[in-house]
């Protein structure tokens, strides 16, 4: 029994159309159908945040969104952050702070940090830790990640 349906959504400003099974998630759609592999698959139960994308202006775990639910949505992925080839200042701050070790969690971390900075331009350490609690780093770079977010926030003023 197949239940494929046509999903139309906007990804990084471009309208896309995909045939998807209901069992496919937004994460599957992005990685497998649209080949946007910057968004990472990891825990698949909404605990690690590696698959974080922005959907209709809010960050979500794309592993916990069915592709069918994303029909009509506006989605922004990590690929839009470095659009044009150069790194976003936040990504540069991650590199400069040593917040990127194996790098697997980094796209999700950057998406969560961008979301925080859009809501709270100058977050405290506590606010950063709270906002990024949904993004795990197995390399244990939490301190450097916090520093990177602070550095990126400070850089906006310069």
């Amino acid at each position: 029994m197949t239940h494929t349906r046509t999903i139309r959504l906007t990804v990084n400003g471009t309208t896309r159309q995909v045939r998807a099974e209901p069992g496919h998630t937004l994460l599957d759609l992005l990685r497998d159908d649209l080949e946007l592999t910057g968004t990472k698959a990891c825990c698949l139960v909404g605990e690690c945040g590696a698959c974080t994308v922005s959907m209709n202006g809010r960050i979500v775990d794309s592993c916990l969104v069915l592709a069918a639910e994303a029909d009509g949505a506006e989605v922004t992925t990590i690929e839009a952050v470095a659009a044009g080839g150069g790194l976003d200042p936040l990504q540069q701050a991650f590199l400069d702070s040593g917040a990127v070790q194996c790098g697997y969690c980094t796209p999700g971390q950057v998406m969560a940090a961008r979301d925080l900075l859009a809501r709270v331009p100058h977050p405290s350490v506590a606010q950063i830790q709270e906002a990024m609690a949904g993004n795990l780093c197995r390399c244990g770079c939490y301190r450097q990640i916090t520093e990177a977010v602070q550095a990126a926030a400070a850089a906006v003023d310069r």
Binding site: P22, G46, I59, D61, C63, L64, V65, L66, A68, G134
Partner: protein
């Protein structure tokens, strides 16, 4: 995930018709943060998933009409936690909504889903119990209101009929001299379930309600009209007796004994916070 049908009704009657047609083979999808994990782990194998995010009347909204605040079924926890009306009238609910999961989870998970999932550790359950919330359900017989204390039946179980949809949660606005609070113990901040949670509500004349989470097969409501629980100097004995009505299990998060001890301590702190807010002029 194995194959299943996906339906996205726009009318409430259609959602109910789908539930009637598919019976136990249908599941409702709102935020999906629990449901999709269940689908992936194959604990759930529905024939059809009914997405209620496009049903007219369930769109995200928090509105006040007279003495009642209504939170619709599609309202996510981010919005419950941030809403000014909720924060000023139901601070314990705002506190609880703000500590569930993570930013990513709270942007999807709904208040209605948190109670329909009926985890004994559901963080919003103790506040909803002490605020005497009502669950608004729609089914083939029309709309009915279920007092929240009569909604939880056991782990993962509610008294909702299989063909009913929760459309909203309604909370009566407390009087001006009430105070309330929420407290929670977990192993880490963020992305962890509660080891123990407590909510307290104290009204102007000292009547007190306590809600306990994660210490029994369902969230527990306790009411005291004697004024004893509201009295910081006189509550210890009564509290010790009430705490023994809890029946926590030992699991990966904590032992039964630890939960019992922490329940007593957390109850003291949350009652202090609630009575303190009452002294400040209430509500907050």
């Amino acid at each position: 995930m194995q194959g299943f049908g996906y339906e996205r009704p726009h009318a409430l009657a259609r959602a109910v018709a789908l539930l009637q047609a598919h019976g136990s083979q249908a599941v409702l999808l709102a935020g999906g943060t629990d449901l999709i994990v269940g689908l992936r782990e194959r604990r759930l194998r529905p024939a059809v998933v009914v997405d209620i995010k496009h049903v007219a009347g369930l769109e995200p909204s928090i509105t006040r009409a007279g003495g009642l605040v209504r939170i619709t079924a599609d309202t996510v926890l981010t919005d419950v936690a941030a809403d000014q009306c909720v924060r000023s009238n139901f601070p314990a609910l705002a506190q609880a909504a703000a500590v569930i999961g993570t930013v990513q989870i709270r942007n999807r998970a709904t208040l209605a889903g948190n109670i329909c999932n009926a985890s004994p550790a559901a963080d919003t359950a103790p506040p909803l119990l002490v605020y005497q919330a009502q669950v608004v359900a729609y089914g083939p017989g029309g709309t009915r209101r279920i007092p929240i204390d009569g909604f939880f039946a056991g782990p993962g179980l509610t008294t909702l009929a299989p063909d009913e949809v929760v459309t909203a949660i309604e909370l009566p606005v407390p009087g001006p001299h009430a105070g309330s609070a929420f407290g929670r113990l977990s192993r880490r901040r963020g992305a962890d379930l509660a080891t123990v949670s407590v909510s307290a509500y104290v009204d102007g004349d000292g009547a007190t309600r306590l809600g306990f989470g994660a210490v029994g097969p369902r969230p527990i409501l306790i009411a005291d009209h004697s004024g004893q629980l509201a009295d910081p100097a006189g509550r210890a004995d009564m509290l010790a007796r009430l705490v023994r009505t809890a029946s926590p299990i030992s699991d990966v998060r904590a032992s039964r004994e630890y939960r019992m001890s922490m329940l007593a301590e957390l109850s003291q702190r949350v009652l202090d916070a609630a009575t303190g807010r009452r002294a400040e002029g209430g509500r907050r």
